[in-house]
Assembly symmetry: C2
Homo-oligomer: 259 residues x 2
DNA sequence: TAGAATAGCTACTGGTGAGTATGGTCCACG
DNA sequence: CGTGGACCATACTCACCAGTAGCTATTCTA
């Protein structure tokens, strides 16, 4: 049962996002007065764990390391999480939640499936390039208890199935070139997941830019295209109406940064 | 200095490839008479390690596990390798060697760059789906000493640069759609690397089939193409090629024209 | 202000696993 | 035949680390 965090009703004011983004400031020593917002501190523990896992790997990170990064001691960490495994799980969930939301949102829209798929891939790339990307990508069965592993597998499968569905719908509505949805979904997810292996912040590109570059690659393919009108050119009967491939999504100024 | 294996000249007969492929037979208990071919036993240790890492992960595999799989004890393993890290390194090299060879071979050929790239990707996919694929993909800096890490990084970079060069050449000779070589290489390698995460043998597809399916995805792209000649449409063709994944060094018939 | 809850520390346990010290056995070769 | 080396096992050492016991200090509440 992973979500057994106390969550005791949050009685106080929401505490205006102290030290929100990527500063390594810990809510303990950061300001000497103890802000006793449990959730803020708990989040800080999760984030510190994510950074440590990201840098040294899960097995090479001890809870003493994480505690030291927060300038506290190990029992303090255990005051907020029950064990190391849960720490990894929470990092995973923090990373994958955005993708799941994007997949769900894609199902409730009316745009051509390729545009909806691109939106999902964009969120996907951003999530993988986030500070939780490593944990999301690398959290493996072997390091987790069976229930946690099952949770993670279910979430991953949800995303995979969502992508496959978008591919099928795109083939149906003519916005996506016919292909094997399963293999194509593997290829897309694999390319995006791998971002977590080579991407380091402060390297110039943001996650969004990388996602855009990848989408450009996936869309065009390696084989040259007769560069007539860069619009759809459906090659298969668009399956009744509703196939307005006219891109209601933004003006398609996808420069794709090709040099 | 990773390659300090004794390699004592191999004075005896080559010993006709005892228990070559994926049988877990160990050269120790397999035949009661002790064949003292050091290389064969050493290879068996490497392969056993690869299988164990593949199944349980590097950190969750103890050298006692590997020894038990070979029905020997831990000091015997240490008689053939110097430490656990070297074991991982050897598995990595065993996996990546085929790709490096393919990249080098691609440079000495005259075919259009896209065809040469496809050949490289085919070898790449096969290597990742091999029993050393996991080690090749997952061997990380954090688990290795600085020199080993540098070695690995150099080999990976060699392959990456080779793919980028093929992409540039393909854009030049018109066989590849204009794109950002760096990002495209990342996308290709990522998709292929990720095979190691989901591929399990006995799942129906061989590494070659997966590689072919991925190549079809990369070639066409998601955006529909005007259906001029039939050409593409490689979706789920059973293909039934007689390439049994054993037979490592066969004639390889690299037909650049599909079907 | 007493008592309870919160939040954190020092100092420990227990288990695991990498790597080794030491010695035994079998074979090749002089 | 006996000696040295190749090969392998028993039985250890040692370090690291997840997790805990029990204490202290601060803050909230009645």
């Amino acid at each position: 049962m992973p979500s057994n965090r106390p969550r005791a009703g949050s009685p106080q004011a929401p505490s205006p996002a102290a030290a929100r983004d990527d500063s390594p400031a810990s809510p303990w020593r950061a300001s000497r007065e103890r802000l006793r917002d449990r959730e803020v501190k708990r989040d800080a523990v999760i984030r510190a764990a994510a950074r440590a896992f990201n840098r040294k790997g899960y097995h090479n990170t001890s809870l003493d390391d994480i505690a030291a990064a927060l300038e506290v001691t190990k029992p303090t960490v255990y005051y907020y999480v029950s064990n190391k495994e849960q720490l990894l799980f929470e990092c995973f969930v923090a990373g994958i939640e955005g993708i799941r939301a994007a997949v769900r949102e894609a199902r409730s829209q009316a745009a051509p499936a390729r545009e909806r798929l691109k939106a999902v891939l964009r969120h996907y790339g951003e999530a993988v390039a986030s500070e939780f990307g490593w944990c999301m990508v690398r959290a493996e069965d072997q390091d987790l208890s069976p229930d946690m592993s099952a949770h993670i597998k279910a979430m991953k499968s949800e995303i995979d199935q969502g992508i496959r569905r978008l591919l099928r719908e795109g083939i149906q509505d003519g916005s996506i070139h016919p292909c094997d949805p399963k293999m194509t979904a593997f290829a897309l997810a694999g390319a995006l997941n791998w971002i977590a292996h080579w991407y380091r912040e402060s390297q110039g590109m943001t996650g969004t830019q990388i996602a855009e570059a990848f989408i450009a690659v996936f869309e065009s393919g390696l084989r040259p295209r007769p560069e007539i009108s860069n619009e759809v050119q459906t090659c298969r009967k668009p399956k009744s109406s509703s196939s307005r491939p006219g891109a209601p999504r933004s003006a398609r100024s996808r420069g794709s940064s090709r040099r």
